[in-house]
Symmetry: C2
Subunit: 356 residues, 2 copies
Amino acid sequence: MAGKLRIALDAMGGDRGPEEMVAGAVLAVRHEDVAVTLLGDETRVRAAVEASQLPAELAHRLEVVPTTQVVGMSEPPFEAIRRKKDSSIMRAFALHKEGRVDAVVSAGNSGAIMAAGLKYLGRLESISRPGIASAFPTMKDPVVMMDVGANVDCRPRHLFEFGVMAAAFSRVLFNIERPRIGLLSIGEEGGKGNTLVRKSHLLFQQSSLNYIGNVEGQETFQGDVDVIVCDGFVGNVCLKLSEGLAEVVTAMLGEEIKKRLPAKIGYLLARDAFAAFRRRVDYAEYGGAPLLGLQGTGVVCHGRSSAMAIKNAIRVAAEMVRNRVNDHIIALLAADDFLAKKAEAAEGENGPGAVE
Amino acid sequence: MAGKLRIALDAMGGDRGPEEMVAGAVLAVRHEDVAVTLLGDETRVRAAVEASQLPAELAHRLEVVPTTQVVGMSEPPFEAIRRKKDSSIMRAFALHKEGRVDAVVSAGNSGAIMAAGLKYLGRLESISRPGIASAFPTMKDPVVMMDVGANVDCRPRHLFEFGVMAAAFSRVLFNIERPRIGLLSIGEEGGKGNTLVRKSHLLFQQSSLNYIGNVEGQETFQGDVDVIVCDGFVGNVCLKLSEGLAEVVTAMLGEEIKKRLPAKIGYLLARDAFAAFRRRVDYAEYGGAPLLGLQGTGVVCHGRSSAMAIKNAIRVAAEMVRNRVNDHIIALLAADDFLAKKAEAAEGENGPGAVE
């Protein structure tokens, strides 16, 4: 595709409605070197675009593709993609397959997004399980965790691939030459953990990756590891738990502070300090969660994404395309593929580590 | 056993040394209606007891049993209990088996504590996997999570038993007639989660327990559920992640507040409010993590436990004995045992859900 990168944005995704999504696209064309294709309800999307009063030279970077169906947030993914061919999610990936866009961004039903991506784009060669990664803040640099929800029952080979994909993403997005990879476990020694983790540990250990061993939950936010590998069940639990806990800690601490200060000062201070803190840890700053392992590029955003979060996700999608994250994944996997093959052969059909 | 309940305390457990453990025992005899048997290095333990200057009528409630070996915190549990018969942990459970104490409290190696408990006390009838529960603070009342580390690869029947045991504990400790039980998962609908959770959901659903369905990680700290069930790998990851995250959030928020206030006020305020917050969420207040499913009573404490945490753990152990938590477990299981048996029959040897 000549010229600017073009990102498809699912205007019907997210809890805040198409107007917020369009606002995100508007921010993106203002601040990033991209064009955006908006998919969704034509009337609402066009009205929101016009309301934005973009200057003509920017407005022509926004394209609207009307769609008539919407996938609900709790709809079963495979049923949704079978029944809703004209949904914004499905059409976005269809455009991607046709080469009319370079990537897809959506704040919709993540299961349906993954299913649509698999259907239209397929898996990257030698990846058996595409997944979803998520970057989040630590005391130092952000860490990338994978998988955070796409694959709930995994084998060692899958965890190994998650490590490879997340490392390629970390390298491209955060410019880390050889990201430090840790396996989320419940003890630092390789012999600890559940069966899946113990077997995956052996795979990583023999690989050429920069594997630093098991990491425990409390290390997640220290910033001494760049990539944390886990199955999608554990990863998703961790993600949700962290969101919930951060809210509770903030609320409790806020109460204690307000108790100790004159009401007005307490209020202002809390408002201010807490807003700064929230910016610092805001998932929105990190630009969504990349789908990794597809023959193409996709980014899933939190349902409650703001325009700013959408803009950042569009930037991340563009960087993934520009910096060829998929080529990095293939190259890293090629170096270690013999390991994965060996593991698969050793596991057999119903061997240990199989849960499905 | 006539008279006061007697709790065995492993004086060699914990990172702070026997003096801190003895201080915990001293607090316990001062504030609780118990007697304590201290096991450990005779010279150090006796010196610490004397230094406490307990009045004679309390001092006679402390007994010292000399032991010569110590199990290290990272020693492999089964090796440790085989080789160190005269360790404080092993001797404590031996005394329990002989009926000379009513419960064991230790801040030592939790794997070794569980292994020693299994060896000397054995499992409670109809419990296939004893485990470790943990109570922690939420926005409302404390919640009990089980398992938090003893069983890393589980079957549905094990999760069902964890629910029963944690419910009995919740009832006895927090006086909740029918504790609300949730299954930790990654979606609220019963069809979501990994294979283990989906199968366990069916068991709970058919039981007579007060099962409220799947709960997601962010609900953990809301306080709308009394018992959260998960396998020991997930539970331990959650526990460690929460500890780590609470520290990071507190540190980041502290920085933002200090930036916004004159140095001295900021320092005092932060010190004060944060200390109050820490008391509110302090694991020490919750008195350790009960071993559930043994023919006896044991409580594991955090390695960094203070004297206050040890005192609380002794109180919890005494309450478990007084209120017959094990009888409640047996009664609850008897009501639902047909379910567990059915599940086991359906699973077979290598069926779904088997990971080991």
